[in-house]
């Protein structure tokens, strides 16, 4: 019984170490600075979205629209900068707000129309993607260089001491904040309660509907932030970007210990899950393997992670 709780706590980290170690053995270039930087940059987009997705999954829901939300936020931010002449910081706010509004939409459809989250967010996925394409006339919107681009860019020599680009630090700080929130505040504990046993939570006076709307709106905001990161990295708002990324985000949360039946999940675990998938992708690229191998390997890791999760559960209950 003891060993299983250890696996529970450190499982994702061990998995990360294992996967990284494997790829290092295959190709020493994995330890190079460039490789590490690339991996960090790629993790941030999925990682930031995963913070919000962790909240949704802990609350017992799911959000399939996050890929589209990332796309539309990047488009809105780029569009406001080029067509409306917004300053970069205002464009950021617009991007995040766009994400929040999409999330709000999800929350309202799920609570007021009483649709199952899978179906509601599936519909949103298509609607939001369509809106993004419509706004950008189906073409990427290029933005000029601003300080925004430094969010995820490689650090120049004089700022090497910062280790990671500012975007990565933002992700880490936000993750820690949300983790503390889930553990030590009443609102956070109530989110866990709703995901674990919704009817009981309702019986105990938790305002379940209000909470769900809040959770989806917050996840949407995180999706918006991820969209900003993507725009900063690619220097354009791309309506076709982040296609299918929701699966990566959900996989990250599940690898990190989240359970799709609710009540369980870890923000730090989700970040590690996002890192694992980036390591796999980068490792495969460095070795010159075609993308289809990457997909098979990633899929295999996800199945292994979930199987271990099942075993852990069965062993942990008497």
């Amino acid at each position: 019984m003891f060993r299983w709780t250890w696996l529970n706590r450190f499982g994702p980290v061990l998995a990360l170490a294992l996967v990284y170690g494997l790829f290092v053995m295959l190709n020493a270039k994995m330890t190079s600075l460039i490789a590490l930087e690339t991996m960090m940059q790629q993790t941030v987009i999925v990682g930031v979205a995963a913070i919000g997705m962790t909240l949704v999954i802990i609350a017992g829901g799911i959000d399939l629209s996050v890929g589209s939300v990332i796309a539309i936020s990047s488009v809105v931010a780029a569009w406001t900068m080029t067509s409306l002449g917004f300053a970069p910081w205002l464009a950021c706010v617009s991007g995040i707000l766009t994400g929040m509004v999409c999330g709000l939409g999800n929350g309202l459809v799920i609570t007021k129309l009483k649709l199952v989250p899978f179906v509601a967010t599936l519909g949103m996925l298509l609607i939001v993607r369509g809106l993004a394409k419509g706004l950008a006339h189906s073409m990427p919107i290029n933005v000029e260089q601003t300080w925004l681009n430094n969010l995820l860019a490689a650090l120049p020599p004089e700022r090497r001491w910062q280790l990671f680009p500012p975007g990565a630090w933002l992700m880490i700080i936000l993750a820690l904040t949300v983790a503390v929130f889930l553990r030590y505040t009443r609102w956070g504990r109530h989110i866990v309660a709703v995901g674990s046993n919704e009817s009981t939570a309702r019986l105990c006076g938790v305002s379940v509907e209000r909470m769900k709307i809040w959770v989806y709106a917050t996840a949407g905001a995180f999706g918006g932030l991820a969209g900003l990161m993507m725009m900063s990295y690619q220097e354009q708002g791309d309506p076709t970007g982040a296609l299918g990324l929701e699966l990566d985000v959900i996989a990250a949360v599940v690898i990190g210990g989240g359970s799709l039946s609710g009540g369980e999940g870890s923000v730090i675990g989700s970040l590690i899950g996002a890192m694992i998938m980036t390591v796999i992708r980068t490792g495969c690229q460095l070795n010159g393997w075609p993308t289809w191998i990457t997909q098979i390997v990633t899929g295999g890791i996800i199945i292994t992670a979930i199987t271990l999760d099942r075993l852990r559960h069965r062993a942990g209950t008497y």
Partner: protein
């Protein structure tokens, strides 16, 4: 303390409660008994705020009581302890106890205050496994129940309503619960106790109210009324004997088991079942009785030993066992016994669809006809054979599960807790059916696993006791009594 006057409630065409009056004195243990459908749960749902009554009023400690939703009822001091526990598995004991009333500063939980309040609510019982920071899902069922009680106490409930609290508890947990009830009574907490088990009611209740078909038959002091009278009031007719036992003659050997070993604890179990007998197996929770039936039926692996069913010997899987004429009724009817989403007819005929086929297609009319026969034989209260099984009451669901074995015409019936959690009338029907089944030279035998001693002594011809995976000697029921069975079960 609590007065409910003239409570009536109608659901469509059914009058669930008809001018019910209930009067509960402060600090007493008031038992509420009645068959399924008598109106006990409806009355309690009204009290707990799930829905309002059509007529009537409720007074709590002299004040008018209205609750538009369960939360309001809880806040006004009514604590409900349901059979299906309402706890959050992923939160700790103290988080569950204080859910909804957590002390916070600017949104952050005040942990030390939570700890002291939780400990105060838990002071009435010492249960080693219930520590404030243990996750509720890691507790046993009885531990979880205690957490529920602690939660009601933390909310300041003055009345606790227990709805069938001991159905899933073993004897020692039940004793702990009763001791706790005594302690709570001494503290002035009023208790309403709903149960089918009259021995329990007689152990702890001060007064008993009997409901039948939505009407209060009577409210009496426990000391002034006998169990037989209570049963008569519950059922409305003279129940001469709840346990019919027509004398019967044992037939040929149906099932022979020799030194069966398997699973985590089964060891050297040997047993022989004859035709025209009912063999009971008693034991405490965890003794291995269900394991035994599952191993016999081929659901779990067998390490060693011989099983002989009629002409067939050796191991078999469940499909083969059904074909050999062995049927299993699992103790977990909701999950293993029935497909609740399917119709009554589908469930009953599930194991033997071939005779209903013509030209390879299932004849739904035949299926309905066969099912109707069994509905009548077992007196299953339903609207139609194609009714969804989930909408039947517990007792009728159990009868449906039993009907499957009867429709299949199994020769060996393995029944695991067949009457657990169902009302008196349904139990009586099932006993009658089993009695008739093993009469004369029908060639059928029954193995019945049960935790309910009166039932075993009343219905079975022979009884064996299982303890820690081993089966004791099988003795005729006349030679046994409650003490002997208990002693053998404790081992």
């Amino acid at each position: 303390m609590l007065e409910m006057h003239g409570i009536s409630k109608r659901f469509g065409a059914t009058l669930a409660l008809d001018q019910v009056n209930l009067d509960v004195r402060p600090g007493e243990v008031h038992a509420l008994v009645g068959e399924n459908g008598a109106g006990k749960s409806t009355l309690m749902k009204i009290l707990s705020g799930v829905f309002p009554p059509d007529t009537g009023q409720i007074f709590l400690e002299g004040q008018m009581f209205t609750a538009k939703e369960p939360l309001q009822a809880k806040q006004q001091g009514i604590g409900m302890i349901y059979q299906e526990l309402s706890l959050i598995p992923h939160l700790t004991v103290e988080e569950n106890i204080l859910l909804g009333i957590e002390p916070v500063t600017m949104g952050f939980l005040r942990r030390s205050e939570m700890r002291s309040r939780a400990l105060r609510a838990m002071q009435h019982f010492q249960h080693p496994e219930i520590q404030p920071d243990v996750l509720v899902r890691n507790l046993s069922l009885s531990g979880q129940q205690l957490v529920e009680i602690a939660r009601s106490l933390a909310l300041g409930s003055r009345i606790l309503v227990f709805d069938e609290p001991t159905s899933s508890l073993n004897q020692s947990d039940t004793d702990c619960l009763f001791k706790l009830i005594e302690t709570l009574k001494a503290e002035g907490i009023t208790i309403i106790y709903i149960s089918h088990f009259l021995e329990e009611v007689y152990r702890i209740a001060d007064r008993i109210t009997v409901l039948r078909d939505g009407v209060v038959v009577d409210t009496r002091d426990r000391a002034d009324v006998t169990e037989t009278e209570v049963v008569r009031m519950m059922v409305g007719r003279d129940v001469k004997s709840l346990y019919p036992k027509t004398p019967r003659q044992r037939g040929a050997s149906l099932l022979k088991i020799n030194k069966l070993t398997g699973g985590p604890s089964l060891h050297d179990v040997s047993l022989q079942l004859y035709a025209n007998e009912i063999l009971g197996i008693f034991g405490l929770v965890g003794a291995g009785r269900t394991e035994f039936l599952r191993a016999l039926f081929g659901l779990d692996a067998v390490r060693s030993g011989e099983i002989q069913v009629g002409f067939y010997s050796g191991h078999a899987n469940p499909g083969q066992r059904w074909r050999q004429g062995v049927g299993l009724l699992s103790e977990n009817r909701k999950e293993e016994g029935l497909a609740l989403g399917l119709s009554l007819a589908d469930n009953v005929t599930l194991t033997r669809l071939r005779p209903l086929e013509s030209l390879g297609l299932l004849s739904l009319r035949q299926q309905k006809r066969m099912t109707k026969q069994w509905i009548e034989a077992l007196d299953i209260r339903c609207q139609a054979p194609d009714q969804v099984t989930a909408s039947l009451s517990g007792g009728n669901q159990q009868k449906a599960a039993l009907a499957r074995l009867l429709y299949h015409d199994a020769d060996v019936l393995l029944l695991d807790e067949p009457t657990r959690g169902i009302d008196v009338a349904a139990k009586a029907t099932i006993y009658e059916v089993l009695d008739r089944l093993t009469l004369g030279d029908s060639g059928k035998g029954v193995i019945m696993v049960s935790s309910y001693i009166p039932e075993l002594l009343g219905v079975c011809d022979r009884i064996a006791v299982m303890c820690r995976g081993r089966l004791g000697t099988v003795l005729p029921a006349e030679e046994l009594d409650e003490h002997k069975l208990m002693r053998a079960a404790i081992g």
